[in-house]
């Protein structure tokens, strides 16, 4: 009973503390909104960049340059992404180097003429190092065009060499054969009979950014409430209120237990509020399994409660506790997928990720969001509970009341 009294007192203090509420609830909500807005499009499919300007320097003025500019760069497909402006090389270099343009394409003088004669050519792409992704896309487009031109050149030159060498055609037949070969090579390029079929799979079913980060930030900010818990414990130790409580007939265990139950309650309230708020405001789906969600939330909050006593035991001052929490929270959030989706992690880093609370919580939440049923959260919950047990034992073992 005393345990509950202590716990409820802590919950009451937190709920009345407007600043604490602001931090535990409003801030994650704001961050989820920012992340959802900033990355929403990146999550749903390949990064859809907003339309940007590209310089083209046409020193060739020939047939191929025209083909490239009008039929490729200004094609319906690409004109949704690129706004092509023709300018002089000096202008292009200046604008790209200032970062005003992401990239420029330079088609050298006599390019078409040289290709026609069966010689090679070199296109140049200049990119702004400050806009690498955009520049890389322009480079990719140019390379693809270069490849197609190469294909025609090779497709004409190779047979001609062989045919001339084996005297299969007379010099008189050369122009006609060249014409025929060019036509065939072109069709091989415009309609390659090898088609690359792309089959795109979302890892499980794709989550939207706002969905992913609702889980990510909720898990991360639960850890902040653990930090609050730790700081409050140290504060009480510092202010000697813990010591004073000990002079009353309450046992050590009820006092510490009460504090921890308080942290747990606050965490549950916080998480539930975040789930509800993201559901109502952003329409985030937290899955179809309510029992699964409940068990996973409880396990996550328990793990974070364990962390709070661990920090309170390990740190001597509130400042040290705050610093330690920062290391733990930021480190676990970054490693555990709260900040960057785990799909982007290389294998060896994924192995390290498994040592974080965030990894297992995110693992469970994202699977639930993908519409999986209760079973998927069993393993994550067990591991989260183990985190709780380990932190709790270490924390209780080392905790000093005075």
């Amino acid at each position: 009973m005393k345990l509950l009294t202590v716990a409820l007192k802590d919950v009451k203090i937190t709920v009345r503390d407007r600043e604490a509420l602001l931090i535990l609830l409003a801030m994650p909500f704001i961050i989820i909104a920012i992340l959802g807005l900033a990355l929403g499009e990146t999550f749903s499919g390949s990064p859809r960049l907003s339309k940007y300007d590209v310089a083209v320097v046409d020193k060739d003025k020939g047939e191929l340059a025209k083909l490239f500019i009008d039929k490729t760069l200004k094609s319906d497909d690409l004109s949704r992404l690129l706004k092509v402006t023709e300018m002089t090389e000096d202008e292009a270099r200046k604008l790209v180097s200032m970062g005003d343009l992401a990239a420029g394409i330079i088609i050298p003088k006599g390019f078409s003429e040289k290709i026609k004669r069966g010689e090679g050519g070199k296109l140049e792409v200049i990119g702004d190092p400050g806009q690498k992704i955009r520049a890389a896309i322009v480079e990719g487009i140019t390379r693809s065009f270069a490849r197609r031109v190469s294909a025609v050149t090779i497709g004409v030159k190779t047979p001609l060499n062989i045919l001339v060498e084996s005297k299969a055609i007379s010099p008189l037949e050369l122009p006609a054969t060249t014409g025929l070969l060019t036509k065939e090579a072109r069709s091989a390029v415009t309609k390659p009979f090898i088609r690359v079929q792309e089959e795109t799979k979302a890892a499980e079913r794709g989550l939207s950014a706002i969905q992913y980060y609702s889980a990510g930030m909720a898990v991360m900010f639960i850890l902040f409430s653990a930090m609050f818990g730790a700081v409050s414990l140290i504060d009480e130790r510092h202010n000697m209120t813990l010591a004073r409580l000990l002079t009353t007939p309450s046992r050590n265990s009820s006092i510490l237990g009460g504090k921890l139950v308080g942290v747990f309650f606050i965490g549950i309230l916080q998480f539930s509020a975040l789930v509800l708020a993201t559901r109502l405001m952003f329409g985030v789906q937290w899955g179809n399994s309510l029992p699964g969600l409940v068990v996973l939330v409880v396990s996550t909050v328990l793990a974070s409660t364990g962390m709070s006593i661990f920090i309170a035991a390990a740190a001597k001052t509130t400042k040290a506790a705050a610093a330690m929490s920062q290391v733990l929270i930021q480190g676990m959030a970054a490693l555990g997928g709260s900040m960057v989706p785990l799909q982007a992690f290389p294998d060896w880093l994924k192995n390290i990720s498994q040592f974080t609370i965030n990894y297992w919580a995110m693992n469970g939440f994202t699977q639930l969001m993908n519409g999986k049923s209760f079973e998927v959260i069993i393993l994550p919950s067990i591991i989260l509970l183990s985190f709780c047990v380990i932190f709790l034992s270490l924390g209780i073992w080392r905790f000093r009341f005075e």
């Binding site: 931090i23 801030m27 990064p47 090679g120 190469s150 497709g155 030159k157 090898i194 705050a322």
Partner: protein, 402 residues
């Protein structure tokens, strides 16, 4: 002035003793920079090989040749795979893509019939985009080779220069000759990153690393300076500020001393971070130390002012400690410290212009990545300074000493 200097000096001495601050100021930044560098490093450059399984259902001479060529791609580690497992791994997000060469590929190539190359890829994976481009290139290469071989054989047959039993050999020879021509394609693309001053000669780590290091350094400088500034609250709580006021020291001296102290401790920490980044992670901080120092100083001033503003608006240090990270993280995200701003939607890019971090990232990108000079830092510095002045004025109005 002398007294202000004494006040500032005390803060630096305290910093030296404060182990907690050292942990949060070195460990977290280094850890996070490392994690993010690893994650985003692979985004724009391929210094990390990702595993791509190839499933060869065809087992012909040509499928083997294709695999041999794929293996030359520096960014990917091509391994033999099994279709079911590959699909499973993609679904789980373990690998980015897999390539399937269907049965009959070689035969179709020989006949000039349509055939597929299948790429199964993970949604929104940067690596998957790379592999598609490579496959597109190979599809054109093989289509051309096959067309070339077929048209050569046709002409030879018409002119009676080939015996029926040599047709097969002739086709293969032409195919190989054409394929060999691709080793040095006639049309190439030269790609250059333009810097305003081309002075970079030294080898640096992957460029993705630099961008994230920059963003994270800014974020951590914010952490240090803002959290450092909030120690004002600690003094208020301990009433040491009140005590100082009873001495003949003027309020103005104390305040200016405090601001100086906050600024200098922040500057020391930022300097350490930048140096660690430079010498441990070989982050390219550009070749304009003077301009870097200038804009960093302005930024530190502005963030110190923000810290004072926060201190003036909250009641306890604990509140400041919890509210600051959230403000800092939001500013970092909106300003483009965590991910390249170019991947966000246009209105988010505009929002970055309304906050100091956005201007700081812009200034640093212009200065370091684009290699520009004073012109790059001047406008951002003035704006960031303006933010600082506003923060400081509002902060001083609300700041209470006791």
């Amino acid at each position: 002035m002398n007294k202000a200097w004494q006040v500032a000096k005390v803060m630096i001495i305290e910093l030296k003793r404060d182990r907690a601050a050292w942990v949060s100021m070195l460990l977290v930044p280094v850890l996070l920079t490392l994690i993010m560098g690893v994650l985003f490093g692979g985004f724009s450059s391929g210094e990390r090989k990702s595993k791509i399984p190839v499933i060869d259902h065809d087992q012909s001479r040509y499928s083997k040749l294709l695999i041999k060529q794929l293996k030359k791609e520096p960014a990917f580690l091509i391994v033999k795979g099994e279709e079911k497992k590959a699909r499973d791994d993609i679904r789980k997000g373990k690998i980015a893509a897999a390539i399937i060469i269907p049965d009959g590929f070689g035969e179709a190539l020989r006949q000039g019939k349509e055939t597929d190359l299948n790429v199964i890829q993970l949604k929104s994976s940067g690596q998957a985009i790379g592999i598609s481009q490579i496959m597109d290139g190979l599809a054109i290469r093989y289509s051309t080779n096959s067309t070339t071989a077929a048209s050569t054989l046709n002409v030879l047959k018409l002119s009676g220069k080939v015996f029926p039993d040599q047709e097969e050999k002739n086709w293969t020879n032409t195919f190989d000759a054409s394929d060999k021509a691709w080793e040095t394609p006639p049309v190439t693309v030269k790609s250059t990153s333009l810097k305003a001053s081309e002075v970079r000669g030294e080898k640096t780590l992957a460029t993705g690393f630099s961008q994230t290091s920059m963003g994270f350094t800014i974020t951590f400088v914010m952490f240090m300076v803002v959290m450092g500034a909030t120690t004002l609250l600690e003094e208020r709580q301990k009433n040491t500020l009140g005590r100082l006021l009873t001495t003949p020291t003027k309020k103005a001296s104390i305040l200016s001393g405090k601001i100086m102290g906050i600024f200098m401790t922040g500057a020391i920490q930022a300097a350490i971070l930048i140096l660690v980044g430079r010498f441990v992670f070989q982050v390219d901080w550009g070749r304009s130390p003077l301009q870097l120092l200038f804009i960093m100083s302005v930024f530190i001033f502005s963030m110190a002012a923000m810290g004072i503003l926060i201190s003036s608006l909250v009641r306890t240090l604990a509140q400041a400690n919890s509210i600051s990270p959230v403000i800092i993280i939001s500013l970092a995200m909106l300003g483009g410290c965590y991910w390249p701003i170019e991947i966000t939607p246009p209105f988010m890019q505009k929002a970055a212009n309304g906050i100091p971090t956005g201007w700081m990232m812009r200034g640093l990108t212009d200065l370091i990545v684009r290699g520009r000079g004073w012109d790059a830092v001047l406008v951002p510095s003035v704006i960031i300074f303006g933010f600082g002045v506003v923060f400081l004025s509002v902060g001083l109005v609300f700041l209470r000493f006791e």
